[in-house]
Symmetry: C2
Subunit: 246 residues, 2 copies
């Protein structure tokens, strides 16, 4: 499973602007890995919202827990993310990656207890057929709250468990988790390893700062890593890159 960070595939400074070269680089890496047979058990891609989803979400005051039942908010957020998803798919298709969309809003929801339900039978069937399912940070219908945000990171952890992913990679704008001196931490096996570095500084990023990413990846059975775009080929080839979280 490969997560393409929203900051990687979009220009976060400018509303609804792709980072075309980064996206093309990612698509080419996936295409090469597929051509070399490195992904014989299939690949699921999840991308973030970057400059497409986030500003609409904050404009309408919608978070992972604060919902909306206003159709205008729903269409702004979901519409922007569908647009980004079409761009991502089209760049993947240009490189002959058999990518297919899975719109989270079409299949997932949260129940009264806030528990996420995201059936994965359709994703298994897509993988068996040789397709590369592409999901993204989106909104989901939520009991008693209208629709709330689901982050790309939440999708990754849910899907990694449900699909029994072998490996999980988060392609980020940084080369891994950085220590006080800016060096990449090789390996994290418990949150205490990095508590002093990450602290709670990013707790305000509702869809998951680095501390949140590390916490959720630690809970996964599958080995995970956080790495920069320069390491995407190595990750897809099966190599250890960036920060390994196990």
């Amino acid at each position: 499973m490969l997560k393409l960070g929203g900051s990687v595939v979009t220009d976060k400074e400018r509303p609804e602007t792709l980072d075309g070269p980064a996206l093309e680089r990612s698509a080419a890496a996936v295409a090469s890995a597929l051509a070399e047979g490195a992904l014989e058990d299939g690949l699921v891609i999840v991308h973030g919202g970057g400059s497409f989803g986030h500003h609409h979400a904050s404009e309408h005051g919608v978070t992972t827990t604060e919902g909306t039942d206003e159709i205008g908010a729903v269409t702004d957020i979901h519409g922007a993310m569908e647009t980004l998803n079409r761009f991502v798919l089209s760049r993947l298709h240009e490189q002959d990656v058999p990518a297919v969309p899975v719109h989270p809003f079409s299949t997932a929801y949260r129940d009264e207890a806030g528990t996420l339900h995201l059936p994965t039978g359709q994703i298994d069937a897509m993988l068996e057929a040789g397709f590369v399912p592409v999901l993204y940070g989106d909104i989901v219908a939520t009991a008693e709250s209208g629709a709330t945000i689901i982050s790309g990171d939440e999708l990754v952890t849910h899907l990694a468990r449900a699909l029994g992913a072998d490996r999980v990679g988060l392609c980020s704008t940084v080369p891994g988790v950085l220590d006080e001196d800016g060096a990449v931490v090789d390996r994290i096996t418990s949150f205490e390893d990095v508590d002093a570095i990450l602290g709670e500084s990013e707790a305000t990023d509702v869809t998951g700062g680095m501390a949140g990413k590390v916490r959720t990846l630690l809970e996964l059975e599958a080995p995970a890593s956080i790495f920069g775009l320069e390491s995407i080929d190595s990750f897809l080839a099966g190599d250890a890159v960036g920060t390994s979280i196990e």
Copy 2:
């Protein structure tokens, strides 16, 4: 549950052309019914493929049982239907209908036995939030066959059962099931009622001619009707219109 036939909302003679006035008429009827409180338990809309999906499907030789694993075929068919769905949603939004998309390819699949799996928890959650879910004839990942077609009619019968629909209406280009003299048959309670009229003449329409529609509607617990666009307001108001199938 309201099905808008593909021939109603598109111009079937011209590839990828909307029937704008018919779609606007349908959207206005839904908006009025919502405003009048006639749909307090919610409404699910399903639309057909008309001139958007069908020609791509036949060009690529894809049917409800003959699948494809070619990404070009998948993106042609699914892409055209996503485009039609965006048009339908946008006309509904213009009339203030809180319509939200549910892309069948994102959530449904067929297993090895050909059985359709289409979870509906997300649709229930959307209805509870006051949204109007809109689905459409599409493709679905299919075990051992890549992707096959799912017709709007198949979606309607599956969803009517799964959601426990109170009433099902098929808005068609004809005012109902017609007898030998062109008069609307008021009521059908078994296929023998209309065997002589419908016969097997439309058996070649893979996504469901009138005979197929009548057969599947007879199997539903919910009362169903087939009617023309001129009766859509009456149907939504709860009146008996066109041909009732019980």
